[in-house]
Symmetry: C2
Subunit: 370 residues, 2 copies
């Protein structure tokens, strides 16, 4: 098991080649995103019918699994993210204390650290990477949790955005395993406006003449498409209030242009376009009701977890209203909206008060007896 003191050199890495090889990018490395561990599956059949062979899931862990194996927390990540991005919520002083909990942070299939378009050889590499669903990730994570660790009970599953989509999929698909759930800034079925947003983001990347159906030789060649994609995020991922009040100044950006480049472009431009598109399709098609013949209420009724539904108050595509609409169908749930001008991106905690607010809610949820 990895913990925060472990170095990359200590990590047994059956899948390390997946991380460190790959075309034209040095972004997806353990140096930047590790230390990591790897769980490999000889074959993994996807819901859409293709089979990934030697499918490796990268993950990080914090803390120790206790003897009863009943102190685990699972914390999947968002679009364009890795396990590293959510580590800020795991420490003695943060939401989830690794002295008490064993925290697993799985990397999504396609995120660049787990098996992904950019690190997969033909016939499934780059533009040929198969369509992956949220449910595929959750089934892979289920194998990791049960086969690798023998865990049959998760004290908490939580996540932001696509992490919320994964949280819902866990709570619906394995209701008996999930004791508490905190979907943050995300829904169980992707709202239509969010589907349209994915269309626009996808189109922005593919609009680059160097996109070449995903067979670019260097992801940097697609930088104009990546920037176009980043600048749509700069609008819809934030809020009117953030810009009107120039809240970006409080966190160290010197001008609007600096914020555009040093935050939005900086976030997205080092990434591999095919990896982003793999996650985007997953996000777009997320729907927990696929296992209840499209009946969302029936799906959400399966949830046994004590659930805090936590939208961001000014989120434009996972709105409070759409989160509340689902919350009302979840048996043991509460709506806990997060007030912040950062909108959907409040989770990054650039304003420390946002992080504190979220941590307090998570602490309350962990304190709930279930």
């Amino acid at each position: 098991m990895t913990n925060e003191n472990q170095t990359p050199a200590d990590t047994p890495s059956p899948g390390a080649s997946h991380v460190q090889t790959g075309i034209g990018t040095n972004y997806y490395t353990e140096e930047l995103h590790g230390p990591l561990e790897f769980f490999s599956m000889d074959t993994f059949e996807l819901e859409e019918g293709e089979t990934l062979r030697n499918c490796t899931i990268a993950y990080a862990t914090f803390g120790e699994l206790n003897d009863a194996k009943d102190n685990a927390v699972l914390f999947p990540h968002m679009y364009s993210g890795t396990s590293k991005d959510m580590e800020m919520y795991i420490s003695e002083d943060a939401a989830v204390d690794p002295n008490e909990y064993f925290v697993i942070l799985p990397n999504q299939i396609g995120n660049g650290l787990s098996m992904s378009p950019h690190n997969t050889p033909p016939p499934y590499g780059q533009g040929d990477f198969p369509k992956v669903r949220i449910s595929d990730d959750i089934r892979a994570q289920h194998r990791l949790v049960t086969e690798e660790f023998g865990i049959d009970e998760l004290q908490l599953v939580l996540g932001w955005s696509m992490g919320a989509q994964q949280t819902y999929e866990w709570a619906v698909r394995y209701p008996e395993m999930v004791k508490r759930a905190a979907p943050i800034g995300g829904t169980a079925r992707n709202p239509v406006i969010s589907r349209l947003l994915v269309d626009a983001l996808t189109d922005a990347i593919k609009s680059d003449p160097n996109w070449d159906e995903g067979y670019y030789s260097d992801p940097r060649d697609v930088r104009r498409g990546l920037q176009r994609h980043a600048r749509i995020w700069a609008i819809i991922g934030a809020s009117d209030a953030l810009y009107r009040q120039e809240k970006w100044r409080d966190v160290g950006f010197s001008s609007l242009s600096d914020f555009m480049h040093a935050f939005w472009d900086e976030w997205f431009l080092p990434m591999d376009p095919n990896n982003l598109l793999c996650m985007a399709w997953k996000w777009q098609n997320a729907d927990v009701s696929r296992i209840t013949d499209g009946d969302l209420e029936a799906a959400l009724n399966r949830i046994e977890a004590k659930t805090y539904v936590m939208p961001f108050e000014q989120d434009m595509f996972f709105t409070v209203e759409s989160c509340q609409h689902e919350e009302e169908m979840i048996p043991d749930s509460e709506l806990r909206s997060i007030p912040t001008p950062w909108g959907h991106f409040g989770m990054l905690g650039l304003d420390p008060t946002d992080k504190e607010f979220i941590e307090e809610r998570i602490q309350e949820l962990l304190d709930e007896s279930v």
Copy 2:
């Protein structure tokens, strides 16, 4: 003067050639957007320094100017619009009764009916059309109103989106002339998030490989860019609730795809990209405080009009908050928010209750004694 019974053939048209010539589009015609009248200025110097020669403003009128010349209403239009689009608010049964008021609907410079990139010969045609500001339009409209009609008092100036920007510019620049003002879904200084939106829309059009710096030979060649631009509007111009509740079904669209094509694409794809970009730059840079050295409060304090500030409740870029922020600086003003799932596009009145709500507010404003 034109009225609604006048046919295009009756119209004296010194500028008709401006309307009917132009490259590769039969969208900007009097058949579709008229009947129109034309006001020509031999020379018109723009704030940015260039001079438009033979600059023609197309406009429509309804009703008759009374002898006292004190029954005029001015109703400028929004981005991508023409005078035709707001005619729905002018009738015996609508907000502004032409039996009582003389209504002037000016077309923006660059909108395709007034002097515009697509109908201007070299050296100022297409990609060479000079930068035009909201203040240029308002100075041109002021000449039309005063020189052509001898009007020195407007009972009401109202408009939606860029029409609201023009309304504010009128009320700030000519405060003694404007008795009542109704800026609907727009602000006096363009909010930063709205500036970023214009960047994304502009970039969407220019991303088309056929854009060619504005020297395309047929606007249809730029249809991919126009569609990319339309599909960003489909997100940010509407609302989560519109899509979640499928309100588009109520107004005759058969599927989400049908709504995308038959509403959003249908709206924008017939247009000329350079015309849109001319208006977009104007929208992006709108700021009434240019005449008060950037002091917005000083500019808004100039307003003498009784003002109803009317944002749409779910508008994502001209938010209630940003409209209210300005309303608080306007001496004789009230905030009258418009509740509709149609967001920024509520003004089109696809849901008749939105149109009724807006008309009731306009009637209340017209009934205010000033």
